[in-house]
């Protein structure tokens, strides 16, 4: 029982790292980005190539995956996404679905369609018992890494100058502009950072979520659920939503495997019905 809870927490933490970039960019620019999973997949495959083929140590691979996807994210944001902020949601949806399709087919072409695994160091394999709870080492690592990241993000958001600029821009981009904040630059940085986190999440999660070219399609729903349920006004909302979904999904799949997939969608629809603006949203001033 507690082992399932532990696995659920690890899964939820992973979802949070994958999705928090999406929630901030959505809140900041009101931009529906269905291609977020493509960046996660990119991170996963970059780590795969580095670790399995080039023999780079696992942790170094994670850091490089973060950096490369962040640069990639900034590049895409500056060249393509920037044209879409003023367009309708329908355009944004079409555009990002197009990107997803392209990334799926391109990765399929380059890397093949089979599921792949990143070689993780032997230290991280296996599990140990602690007070009667079976703890997977790899999952423990995920919880630690994601926990540090979450605390770090919270500190950046609440404590630094950039964080307050970001929060101001999310609250009301127009007024923030009027106060001299370069909202576009804030957004590019955030987008790059969010993409980088997604890449890191993709690399970390390859072991648990699996990695194959359909990754962006398979997990798009999960990211969107986190964002819609958690709301876009803070990172606490998506964090709680991720944990909730992670635990619910793992528990559902373990106890009622036949209905495992329903649990998550039902939770989503019920939550959206009860709280259409997300679990923790305030009335938005936009």
């Amino acid at each position: 029982m507690l082992t399932i809870l532990f696995d659920g927490i690890a899964y939820g933490m992973l979802l949070f790292v994958l999705a928090c970039g999406l929630s901030v960019t959505l809140g900041l620019m009101n931009f529906v980005n269905l291609a977020h999973g493509a960046f996660a997949m990119a991170g996963g495959y970059i780590t795969l190539i580095l670790v399995n083929r080039a023999g780079v140590p696992f942790f170094a691979g994670l850091v490089i995956a973060f950096a490369v996807t962040a640069v990639l994210g900034a590049l895409f944001e500056r060249t393509l996404y920037v044209h879409l902020y003023s367009k309708t949601h329908l355009d944004q949806v079409l555009f990002t679905i197009g990107l997803v399709f392209m990334s799926v087919a391109a990765v399929d072409y380059v890397m093949g369609s089979q599921q792949v695994f990143i070689q993780i160091p032997s230290v991280l394999q296996g599990r140990f018992e602690l007070f009667g709870i079976g703890i997977g080492r790899y999952r423990l690592l995920i919880i630690i890494v994601c926990g540090i990241l979450t605390i770090g993000l919270q500190l950046i958001l609440s404590g630094t100058r950039f964080g307050s600029r970001l929060r101001a821009s999310v609250d009301d981009a127009r007024v923030a502009r009027g106060l001299g904040i370069n909202v576009n630059r804030v957004f590019t940085l955030t987008f790059a950072f969010g993409s980088g986190l997604a890449g890191l999440g993709g690399a970390l999660g390859a072991e648990i979520l699996g990695l194959d070219p359909t990754f962006p399609l398979k997990y798009m729903v999960y990211f969107l659920i986190v964002v819609t349920v958690g709301g876009t006004s803070s990172i606490t909302g998506p964090f709680v939503a991720s944990l909730l979904i992670g635990i619910a999904d793992v528990t559902g799949k373990y106890y009622v495997p036949k209905f495992g997939a329903f649990v998550i969608y039902t939770i989503m629809i019920v939550l959206l019905l009860v709280r259409p603006q997300g679990l923790f949203a305030r009335a938005a001033g936009k």
Binding site: L90, L94, F95, V104, A105, D108, L224, Y265, L272, P276
Partner: protein, 348 residues
């Protein structure tokens, strides 16, 4: 004065709803394809049900402004219901089974329409997507009824109206699909040009104002969503009947996403948009799949990206220009019956 305005508006609306020459040409071309392109009937059958499916999405996207990423839910329900009705010979006659399948999908549409009334675009995307995923999961989890991941096999379709047996070249199937498409198109056209259709446009334009002038916004959205679900269900049933097969693929996300592309190519908020889009999409798919069978999704994605970057308006402008050219050409003709609906201010 007031009566004069009412008369003017009525006249304008009547003119607008009149059949234009281009429309006659379109349906004549469709009719001609039955006789002139017998070797292409298999792909034309696909064009016909895809066109109907796109028309269904246009009803909610183009006329009511609801973005849906899960329209395949209704398509799939129609598909499975039609296949099951035929397999177990509950309703063997295809036309009746078609209507029943559409009604089954409409029930689901009615039940889920209350979910899309609330929230923003993003919430709607999520809810529609979620409904389609749940339907897929249900079909996957009851293999004793639906055949699960293997699909529903052993479906035998009885002769249409008891006389016309479907042949392997798809000739009968094409005529059947085209007729169904035409009848449902007429119905949609009638609805769009009715006061109900106008009120839908008002709701799309500004829900708050339409509520203020006495339009029941939620009622209209529920009605059109249910209607669109019916159309999608019939389209799905056509697929199931013409292929004598139903599989989980009918619920897939790709199907909903491709459908958006079909409609965008043809243009939204314009009844022929879905039909023209279906023709172009199928031709494109056929062509690309011949070049790279495995990676055609890449090119579909590229088309989507390019369409958005170039701007849907400009593509819409392209078809608009073709339409205007056609109308101008026809206006020169001295036959009064071919007079085109145009507001008095235009073309002076």
């Amino acid at each position: 004065m007031n009566a004069g305005i009412i008369k003017q508006v009525t006249q304008h609306l009547v003119n607008r709803a009149r059949w234009s020459a281009m429309e006659y040409a379109f349906w004549l071309a469709a009719l001609a394809s039955i006789f002139l392109l017998p070797s292409r009937h298999l792909i034309l059958t696909e064009v016909a049900w895809l066109g109907l499916f796109a028309l269904s999405l246009d009803l909610i996207l183009g006329y009511a402004g609801i973005i849906s990423l899960g329209h395949a839910a209704f398509f799939g329900v129609g598909s499975y219901v039609a296949a099951l009705l035929a397999k177990h010979a509950i309703i063997a006659e295809p036309v009746l089974a078609l209507v029943v399948s559409g009604i089954a999908a409409a029930f689901l549409g009615f039940a889920t329409s209350f979910l899309v009334l609330r929230g923003s675009d993003l919430t709607r995307l999520m809810v529609t997507l979620g409904v389609a995923l749940i339907m897929r999961e249900i079909a996957n989890q009851i293999p004793e009824i639906t055949g699960g991941a293997d699909g529903l096999q052993g479906v035998v379709i009885a002769p249409i109206l008891g006389t016309f047996q479907l042949d392997i070249f798809g000739h009968v199937a094409y005529v059947y699909c085209l007729l169904v498409l035409f009848v449902l198109f007429l119905l949609a056209r009638r609805i769009i040009y009715s006061p109900f259709g106008l009120s839908l446009r008002a709701v799309k334009g500004n829900p708050l104002r339409s509520a203020l002038i006495g339009i029941s916004v939620n009622g209209r959205l529920v009605a059109v969503y249910t209607l669109a679900a019916f159309y999608a269900g019939v389209a799905g049933a056509l697929l199931a009947q013409t292929t004598a097969f139903a599989s989980l693929d009918v619920f897939s996300f790709e199907r909903s996403a491709d459908l958006l592309l079909v409609l965008i190519i043809g243009g939204t908020g314009y009844l022929y948009g879905g039909l023209i889009g279906a023709v172009i999409f199928k031709l494109m798919q056929d062509w690309i799949a011949n070049l790279t069978p495995q990676y055609w999704q890449f090119w579909i994605g590229l088309v989507l990206v390019l369409i958005v970057l170039v701007g849907r308006d400009r593509i819409g402008l392209g078809t608009g220009m073709v339409r205007a050219l056609g109308q101008r050409a026809v206006r020169r003709l001295p036959i009064p019956a071919f007079r085109i609906a145009a507001p008095p201010a235009e073309g002076r």
